[in-house]
Amino acid sequence: MEEETAASDEESRRRVASSLTSRYSDWVVESLDELQGSFLLTDPSIPGHPIVYASRGLAALTGYPPAEVLGRNARLFQGAGTDRAAVAGVRDAVRCQRPHQTPILNYRRDGAAHWVLLHLAPVFHAADGAVLHFLAVQVPIPPPPPPARCRVARPTVVVFAPCREEARVEEELSCPCASHAGEVFVDVDKRGLDAEEPRVASEHEKEKALSTANSIFSALNRYSKLTGLVVCGKRCDSVGIPALSSSLNLSLGRIKQSFVLTDPHLPDMPIIYASDAFLSLTGYSREEILGCNCKFLNGPGTSAEVLEEINQHICSEQACTVHLLNYRKDRSSFRDLLHISPIRNASGKVAFHVWVHLDEGAKHDFNGLTPEVWQLGAVGAVRVAVRSLSASGSLLRPSQ
């Protein structure tokens, strides 16, 4: 009995140690070590769902050296004051294999409580959609400035409750007092004694968490080239982002302009196709952007009015051409001549939106046409391709 336990411990340790290196390459750990930020990776395929990587930043934030957390479950950071609803939300996200952000009260090695924004993201195998790891970024949330506290009947608990969609509405999160979701989840008896006012993560912390997560995905993909593995933050199979039929993919692949297709029927209008020219214009890889909303191109100086104009046109199923300041992956900006148009399938229903991007700063030959008209050529080619009647009558690959 003892021996068996020892043997399985040994096996677990071995698996923890090789969880990353066997899938990516031996250098992936070094590369992750160089990244800023406090984060860890866990492997759900190993019993106990242990931590298989802990960053240096995590040691600084929590006081735990990597050696002390590797092989343990990430719940070790939680303590008496950790909100159970927040924990339930995280568990739910892990179970459903979806990304999740929540402020959570964690505990340092010395027992001190501290608020962090926990950014959880599954790491999917791009080819088959299997979850390889979970990535958890922790961004400390500073205490709010002392004044301007809303007086509301206690308990004012803001709970991110991912299982309750209504609680995820952004506006509600901007002010803790506006949340009614807390009422549902308040569990006064069980809340920690030292639980101070729950903290709300600002946009700054959310962006920081997201950019840390993105840099980790890049590092993972950079070091998986040798093994041929590609990972992404969004599931790319029929469960999450639908795959286009191969004949449609082929037709779209021939169109040389820079464009993406988004699916208006999925939450947050994710990108479901990106042309090669779009990837070279923006510097992103296909895996990084499939499943994302187009807003990742925006940044400082992107006109909110123009974005609103785009939204309105999309809602009314109308085409529009706008000028917009957008950003590449390397954060360099470009003047984007952007045409957006609804694309209808053979049944006449809007199936996608096409977003044709043209870098106004680059030199182009429009063969006598205006740039605005020239980029419509891509729209036309997409329309023809999407009008195709496949034998099944569906543009999407049947789900496996």
């Binding site: 021939r254 040389k256 148009s341 046409l369 009558g393």
Partner: protein, 362 residues
């Protein structure tokens, strides 16, 4: 059997009222095709890799989409439901309550009895998308905003399209004598199909003597899927690969008796089809043509009456949902079969085509 030499050069006969000045103030983009090479192959530019849409394709789609976006279309044809009728022929039907097959009358301004564009209103002709003409340079060139040459084809958007990208291809100046068919026009159309280089691009020609007695024009459309007639089986009836350069096939399992022609190159095929068409026209025979496969395949749909070319090909537009929902293979095949040639007439057509192909050898 048929001599066509008498028509040679007639197209360029100078008429007294030279229509050249009728283009005063009219400006459109001009696409000049590259010069032909001796072996009949065309040098196409466009994009570096061959799989990509060609320059001409992109320009046509850009101009059409721009026309659509500016709201000049009668309706958005991509919002119309398409469906495939179950059965062996896979007919395609479209539900379009705004479709009006008589709509071509609106184009009298282009296709009127005089056959020339009217200079007064031309400046506001948004329908004029492009002019395509033969060029003398080695590679094609685009001349932005220029006066259309008299030997070009005008690409005019059809505001009531049967499918995306529906255009009329109209000779910019038609001879004012009652000259109807010119082989060079067909050659130009075939070269345009070849230059567009898109499997979806299909050109139609209706020699429908009753509706447009004085006008020669083609129509073209982008169909993402092959038309039913293109999927029908064929039997070779004439193989001239080594001699005349054309091959003739009979389409066997289709309700309309039809022939398919392929050529060793675009020019040989265009020349042959021109001869066939001229002969049929002289005999007052109604027929339709479908040019597909980038101009390398032509189908002759011999019809006794005026189904439009796409209807002969198995593509029908229904205005009423009731009819659309009840469209059946039997009903459609009966409609097509009702206008097809009698067996004896079809046999004559076959021997006529073979004879014309034989004539090409000499």
């Amino acid at each position: 059997m048929v001599s066509t030499t008498e028509f040679k050069g007639e197209y360029s006969l100078p008429s007294k009222n030279s229509p050249l000045n009728q283009f005063e103030g009219v400006k459109t983009h001009l696409y000049r095709l590259g010069a032909e090479h001796e072996n009949g192959t065309l040098k196409s530019f466009a994009y570096a890799d061959q799989g990509s849409p060609s320059l001409l394709d992109t320009i046509i789609l850009s101009q059409w989409e721009d026309f659509a976006w500016k709201g000049h279309l009668g309706y958005d044809v991509t919002a119309c439901n398409l469906k495939v009728i179950e059965g062996g022929w896979s007919f395609v039907v479209q539900l379009n309550n705004k479709w009006n097959s008589c709509v071509l009358k609106d184009y009298d301004k282009f296709l009127g009895p005089v056959g020339c564009l009217k200079p007064n209103c031309m400046n506001s002709y948004d329908e004029l998308l492009l002019c395509i003409a033969q060029g003398d340079k080695d590679i094609p060139e685009v001349v932005p905003s220029t006066k259309p040459p008299k030997d070009g084809l005008l690409l005019i958007a059809n505001a009531c399209p049967v499918e995306y990208g529906h255009i009329l291809l109209v000779p910019s100046v038609t001879n004012q004598l009652s000259f109807f068919w010119d082989k060079r026009m067909f050659s130009l159309v075939a070269r345009i199909a070849s230059e567009v280089n898109s499997a979806a691009f299909r050109v139609f020609f209706d020699n429908c003597t009753s509706t447009m007695p004085h006008r020669t024009f083609f129509q073209a459309c982008y169909f993402a899927n092959p038309l039913p007639v293109e999927s029908a089986s064929t039997v070779a009836i004439y193989d001239g690969k080594a001699t005349s350069g054309v091959c003739l096939y009979e389409i066997v399992d289709y309700p309309m008796k039809s022939l398919a022609f392929t050529g060793n190159d675009v020019n040989t095929l265009a020349n042959f089809v021109g001869e066939v068409s001229l002969t049929l026209h002289d005999n007052n025979t109604a027929y339709s043509l479908l040019v597909s496969n980038n101009g390398t395949k032509v189908k002759n749909l011999a019809t006794g009456s005026c189904l439009s070319a796409w209807e002969c090909c198995g593509y029908f537009v229904y205005r009423a949902k009731y009819d659309f929902d009840r469209a059946s293979e039997i009903e459609i095949s009966n409609r097509i079969a009702s206008v097809t040639l009698q067996d004896s007439a079809f046999e004559n057509l076959k021997s006529l085509c073979c004879a014309i192909a034989d004539d090409l050898v000499m």
